[in-house]
């Protein structure tokens, strides 16, 4: 990616800053702090929520879609389950599927990008053209085609989102690696006979970490969006289970009488994507080193 290589060459390569220092300087920015705070808050809800939920998420506690049910803080959902308990239990699927799919996309994309940049021959062309073909599918559409074919099981969703994340990561990896591949220490490593996979992993990879960290947080943001959207469209592995995306769909029809069944999960997904977005932007700013002297965080 021409734009990325331009952006990275001046700062990242000349001042090789260790990742720890990068993250520390990112954490000095207000936006990163807010992002991390929000993320921790959502993680607390997702992980601790099921323990503190007052009801079983699948238990019927009152008349459907009503607000004045005793013991149900935010009322009941479209079939009479406790909205608050389902909200507390509904984040785990989205978050875990998104994390696994993003990790898969990152691993595949980084591998393809590194190999493409390092090979500098027809393999580079072939790999990147394959990436172009995958890029021709909007992420959610490829996931929908896969679901139409084999059904909405977790593996389908992870593979579809992971595979569509891959080409985007591969582009960034390749773009960032290209200038690194040309540097002398790579030639030196080749000269003393370091195996190729080691050159990729220990010579090139450490030098492209900061754009990859930014990319990782961006990809996670998108993966959460796609997976939550699939659930919102009604495609989840377990139709009756508590899931923020599905919750919005189920209670959407009763929005005028019982808004909480929609508002709580929408707010949670919004805060989650905003938090990863803020963290990504913080890392990007820290890696460009611009906000160190201006307090505009």
């Amino acid at each position: 990616m021409a734009v990325v290589s331009q952006a990275i060459t001046p700062e990242v390569l000349t001042t090789r800053r260790p990742t720890g220092a990068l993250l520390r300087s990112a954490l000095g920015l207000r936006r990163t702090q807010i992002g991390v705070g929000l993320l921790l808050l959502i993680l607390a809800v997702v992980l601790l929520g099921p323990r503190v939920a007052p009801h079983d998420p699948n238990a019927f506690v009152g008349t459907p879609s009503s607000l004045g049910v005793p013991g149900a803080l935010f009322g009941t959902d479209h079939i009479g389950q406790d909205v608050w308990s389902r909200f507390l239990s509904g984040g785990f699927t989205i978050l875990s599927l998104a994390a696994i799919a993003t990790a898969l996309g990152l691993i595949l994309g980084i591998a393809v990008g590194l190999v493409a940049a390092y090979s500098r021959n027809f393999l580079d062309d072939v790999l990147m053209r394959i990436m172009d073909v995958i890029l021709a599918f909007p992420q959610i559409m490829l996931a929908l085609v896969a679901i139409a074919t084999v059904g909405p099981n977790p593996l389908t969703i992870i593979l579809a989102v992971g595979l569509t994340t891959m080409p985007r990561v591969a582009r960034v990896t390749r773009g960032a690696s290209q200038p690194v591949v040309e540097r002398d220490f790579v030639a030196a490593a080749e000269a003393i006979g370091v195996p190729r996979y080691r050159i990729l992993l220990s010579e090139i990879f450490p030098n492209i970490l900061s754009p990859l960290l930014v990319e990782a947080s961006l990809r996670l943001t998108y993966a959460i969006g796609v997976i939550a959207a699939l659930a919102f469209l009604g495609f989840t592995a377990h139709p009756g289970a508590a899931d923020w995306g599905l919750m919005i769909q189920e209670n959407y029809i009763a929005l005028t009488v019982q808004p909480w069944g929609v508002i709580l999960p929408v707010a949670a997904i919004a805060l989650l994507t905003i938090s990863t977005g803020l963290i990504g932007d913080g890392i990007a700013r820290a890696s460009a080193g611009i906000d160190r002297t201006r307090g505009a965080g």
Binding site: P10, M128, F137, P138, I140, V226, I263, G277, I290
Partner: protein, 354 residues
């Protein structure tokens, strides 16, 4: 200013998702000296590449039916299917032919505008989708016509008034909005303007069969607004970064020093140069809308191809899924193609490299 001219834009540019010149980096980065041949050859080459990508995409989409575990006909009809209905469906999907033959039959059919018959509606797919295609095209066009000038203006003014209140507020707002999935934006708008907080706009867009979306201006507001909010923040951020870089360039300083009015400096020197990189991002984000429209149409019950794709997936109506996947992928490829060609045309610097 703590850093050089490239400091601040790089931060934002790195963040862009599918943004970078998606196909442009071919000639330069694929290695070797740039091939010569001028703009015409470049366009021809790009069109051929686009066609190649579409052929590969069609193979992937077609393979979707082949990937059905076991017998596709049984997978579609379920366990209770009678042998007669299975045989009929196999006939209809051309499952009795060899795979390559099946693909060719389907692909040539598509080229002639014949996408097979819908399994759910038992009608030709093309007939089902014709009106919906018009509706979706109108929605996308309207969203594009609003979001492009809006995002360019927001980004340009933010750069011009860098670090002043307008810039700080838009930067923060675009950062937050850019992170939100479309359906979150859409549902939030419905809660705000149609149901819970205010009840001033319709929550669904009802287009009667045979009706046209432009006859329902009020009902178009929320779906259009959702798509505009989905695209504008991102493009505005890129435009700001690009404009900041241009405003710090030598030629803008030169233009100012030779006494041109600020208005002329902006219009003649800064804006055209800042638009180059932004153009690509605009087109890619419009292509991104092709995916976003699926969710947005579902929220507003909008009779378009996105909502149709969702229903077809739920019904496992494979011929319709295939046709819609091809339509959406084609839209995506064509917009990318236009982006590349447009970028070359608005960026004289790149023309010389051809």
């Amino acid at each position: 200013m703590a850093t050089g001219p490239s400091g601040s834009p790089s931060a934002t540019l790195q963040v862009e998702p599918l943004a970078g010149p998606v196909m442009l980096d071919r000639s330069g980065a694929a290695g070797g000296p740039a091939r010569t041949g001028g703009i015409r050859m470049f366009i021809l080459r790009r069109v051929l590449q686009g066609v190649l990508v579409l052929v590969l995409v069609s193979i992937v989409v077609f393979a979707a039916t082949q990937a059905l575990p076991g017998d596709p006909a049984r997978a579609i009809l379920g366990r209770g299917a009678t042998p007669a209905s299975l045989a009929a469906l196999r006939e209809q999907l051309h499952l009795n032919q060899p795979v390559v033959q099946q693909y060719l039959t389907w692909a040539t059919g598509l080229l002639h505008g014949d996408a097979g018959r819908s399994l759910a509606a038992q009608e030709p797919v093309s007939k089902l989708l014709a009106d919906r295609l018009v509706n979706t095209a109108f929605l996308l066009l309207l969203s594009g016509l609003i979001s492009i000038p809006l995002s360019v203006a927001l980004g340009a003014y933010a750069a011009l008034w860098r670090d002043r209140p307008f810039d700080v507020v838009t930067s923060l707002l675009t950062l937050v909005l850019a992170a939100l999935p479309e359906f979150v934006v859409g549902v939030a708008l419905v809660v705000l303007f149609a149901t819970t907080v205010f009840k001033i706009l319709p929550a669904i867009t009802l287009i009667p069969p045979g009706g046209r979306p432009w006859d329902q201006p009020v009902a178009m507001i929320l779906p259009t607004l959702t798509l505009v909010i989905a695209v504008t923040p991102y493009v505005a951020r890129i435009m700001r970064a690009s404009m900041v870089e241009v405003l710090e360039s030598d030629y803008v300083e030169m233009a100012r020093l030779k006494g041109l009015s600020e208005r002329l400096v902006l219009r003649r020197h800064a804006l055209p140069n800042a638009l180059g990189p932004t153009f690509q991002v605009i087109a890619i984000n419009l292509a991104y809308l092709a995916g976003g429209v699926i969710v947005v149409e579902y929220i507003f019950n909008f009779a378009g191809i996105g909502g149709a794709l969702r229903d077809a997936v739920a019904n496992r109506d494979i011929p319709v899924v295939q046709a819609l996947a091809m339509v959406i992928a084609s839209l995506y490829v064509v917009l990318n193609l236009l982006a590349d060609i447009g970028t070359i045309l608005v960026t004289p610097r790149m023309r010389t490299k051809l």
